[in-house]
Symmetry: C2
Amino acid sequence: MAPSLDPRQALDRLAAALLVVRASGHPADGQRRYPRWELDNASLQRLLRRGVGGVILLGGSAAELRLRTRQLAAWAIEPLLLCADVEEGVGQRFEGASWLVPPLALARIHAADPALALDLARRYGACTAREARQLGLNWVLAPVCDVNNNPANPVINVRAWGEDPGTAGALAAAFCRGAQAEGVLGCAKHFPGHGDTASDSHLELPLLPHSRARLEAVELPPFRDAIDADVAAVMTAHLLLPALDAEHPATLSRAVLTGLLREELGFQGLIVTDALVMEAIAGRYGASEAAVLALEAGADLVLMPGDAEGAIDAIVAAVRSGRLSLEQLQTSLERRRLALARCPADGGASASSPLGSLSNGPSAPDRALALELVQRSLERRGKGSVGAGPGVNLIRLDNSLGCPFLPGGAPALALPAAAGLRACLIDGQGPSPWSGDGEAPLALERLGEGPVLLQLFVRGNPFRGRADGPDPWPAVIRQLQAAGRLAGLAVYGSPYAWETLQPLLAPDLPAAWSAGQMALAQSELLGRLGFGAHASGGAGHGAAAGGDFTD
Amino acid sequence: MAPSLDPRQALDRLAAALLVVRASGHPADGQRRYPRWELDNASLQRLLRRGVGGVILLGGSAAELRLRTRQLAAWAIEPLLLCADVEEGVGQRFEGASWLVPPLALARIHAADPALALDLARRYGACTAREARQLGLNWVLAPVCDVNNNPANPVINVRAWGEDPGTAGALAAAFCRGAQAEGVLGCAKHFPGHGDTASDSHLELPLLPHSRARLEAVELPPFRDAIDADVAAVMTAHLLLPALDAEHPATLSRAVLTGLLREELGFQGLIVTDALVMEAIAGRYGASEAAVLALEAGADLVLMPGDAEGAIDAIVAAVRSGRLSLEQLQTSLERRRLALARCPADGGASASSPLGSLSNGPSAPDRALALELVQRSLERRGKGSVGAGPGVNLIRLDNSLGCPFLPGGAPALALPAAAGLRACLIDGQGPSPWSGDGEAPLALERLGEGPVLLQLFVRGNPFRGRADGPDPWPAVIRQLQAAGRLAGLAVYGSPYAWETLQPLLAPDLPAAWSAGQMALAQSELLGRLGFGAHASGGAGHGAAAGGDFTD
């Protein structure tokens, strides 16, 4: 700390430096999509002046993020940790950068060709980190090191690098090496392993009933691999593991963070909590008390405390009362300093290339990587092409409002439209498409005439726990085939949905799966089904928009 | 021209300087929403190096536009005209700036309080121009000077400043004075008046059969007023007016541009065509020939030629062959130079305030103006509040994909959701909500149980020419009232829709209209119907998002 500070100020600033608060990537308060969770600019400026040491960003385009990270750095009194959940490329969260297929797609490549998959994972990490750095981020909150051995997992699923510990660990470590070689920090998550839960820790506290031996066999190996790859940070899980700590969730457990991660696994880097505002923690412990408990347990950094001012005050009070030692916090601050020292300073930008190498979107090599990942992981079955319309382009998605992968003119709309198929979107926010008949669930007369191309955008857990009852899509496929109206099937996202549905198809029926949902996956997949020309590659909607002129 | 150029190069550059080409406000090619119409970056760089003198921008956020205008200026060899169709505030097109109610709302205020309306129109222009300049634009393609005396007009409608020439002219002139006092050029459009057409000149060439006397009485006065207000530019209409020119549409008519506008009306500023790629012109004359014809007729600048390289070549060839005089083009270039001389140079930006006064969205006075405009123009009828649910929030809109006024968490969704109303969106791209019974058109069983809040987002021409037949909403209102299920009505946009529907309502039924469709209009209108707290004002989705955490 600066020598001019009195001890009280110094302690306050020390506590503040260990927080990572949440901000929108959009520059203006009025643009925030989650104003309940994203600090307004006045609060951000106040907290950064007080010494808050990190910001996690969500929302906005690549251009907005570029302006935003400069703005935050200018408001701060010390170099900041600037991070984002860009697990699937920076374009997953910030339009204009590379959006890559989910990691689980690489696990499938790994089964056939491990060396190729490892090289792709390294390049995946390098692409993500290079673009992150170009936009002012110095910390990528990836790789996920959870083993997705439970297909019903609602939060990890295709975000994982494998369904077995060997694959997950090898690919996550390759990602990590690729990313950190670009001068950006990685973060292995969610320790000690969130892959085998069937409930969502955003909402409730999942319990993992496994023995220590089982954890050693399945959950821990990918974290060991990431630590061997010198991962800069590890993020904790909001999970109860009675085999390790009967009382506290991992995030708040001294046995897990200090005993297991720091001492047994020998991790020397930054331990960061998952978001403390998540209901599983905030609802039980209170946000400020949770921050103190996490540091007591051995965390170095506290992510998204519900009330940052309150968390700083609570940490200061805990040091004064002897609950937390000053030395421990200073050690955490030193770890933070060492991590930042691995990152080169944010460079400038020219007017003609305001986003550096991203000024015209992803670079040619990164576009080629995105395309190679889509092409190598795409699965196609059946024969021939989907015929031209008139007919129906029936699309299932979670939410068509603000949908990042389906702007007007996206290939999933434009290519079938060019073939005469009229779009009909089912997203749970329109008139019901359901007949009430479980054997023939679709009310076909509400969709229009002709053959149906069925496009399902499903990630996470499509087959359980939906508010509208058991998943109807297997029955829909049987119904459309029985009526002679199924022309083709496209599944974007979950391999489990694909594996459930494709055995139901008539042998010749044209169908394909991509783990990715973005424009590039749409154009490649539909190209394989015989639609239009392929898009030119890249993050955009290349094949989009025919006659439209303006909005 | 620079003395070092040989005559051939000088002529080429002169021709190029008179073009205004179209680009996306998004920085990367892959982000373009209309790739058929928006030049890619390689073409833009090539054209700007050749001397193209202007760019019209559409798409992207305020932050993206800020980067984009700097980038274009850096690519250009001379100062550029940088313009956009920001008729309803910069936020209408570029998120993060002020989005104001459509001009026609001020015409209604003018009927009751002319002085207030004139002051509001002046502030409307000042706000638009100030924000445009902050983001690097120097030319606002407004005000619309068309008189909307034909409610069936599909393209002008609420974009007009009045339904009579006196109101339209007075308010358009006030807008123009307010805008140009901020050092940004205005543009009166669409000469000689596009208000009384019932077809869309984007698609076909409308014919206006009026006599010269009628044009003097209705169409021309607002343009005279704008010229008196020293408007810097006038944009032509793609309209056939046999009383003035039996052969050529106004855009290509020497009688209209030179005879009427330049000589009779004495306009000394820039005459710019409407977009030449519009089918009404491009389909008939060919894009490059149309550029030559427009200049021959007396235009100074050519907007959106279909093929800019071809247009430059055609203009050069026309000078060489004697069709166009070099002196005329040099006069146009001089008018362009004089216009640019009215605009201060684009200033720099600091890291902490990258968008200048727009760094945290609109300024407090501009937020207050946006709120005042919504509040003064909002109409409320009936009594009491819309009760809490369970029930249905039935929303009609043109397209929910990429909808600028309805991102997830917008007040029209969030406020009814907080009151227990489940959203059901009808946008013509979902399962049909229609029963086939003209007297009871809604298939109520597809919507869910309970009372219905009906929210209609309608602009332009909601009651004619829809692909799905005659507008069903009057019958829907009768049906819902007969079933005892109509809880409230909100109309956003067309006053004609409101005037058609509100007489059908039971006397006490809570209902309201706003000319605006943006978040601020939603929160204010729903507040008047008894929903939640008002949003805090500004361009954003202040009252949005309850429990959502991430996407």
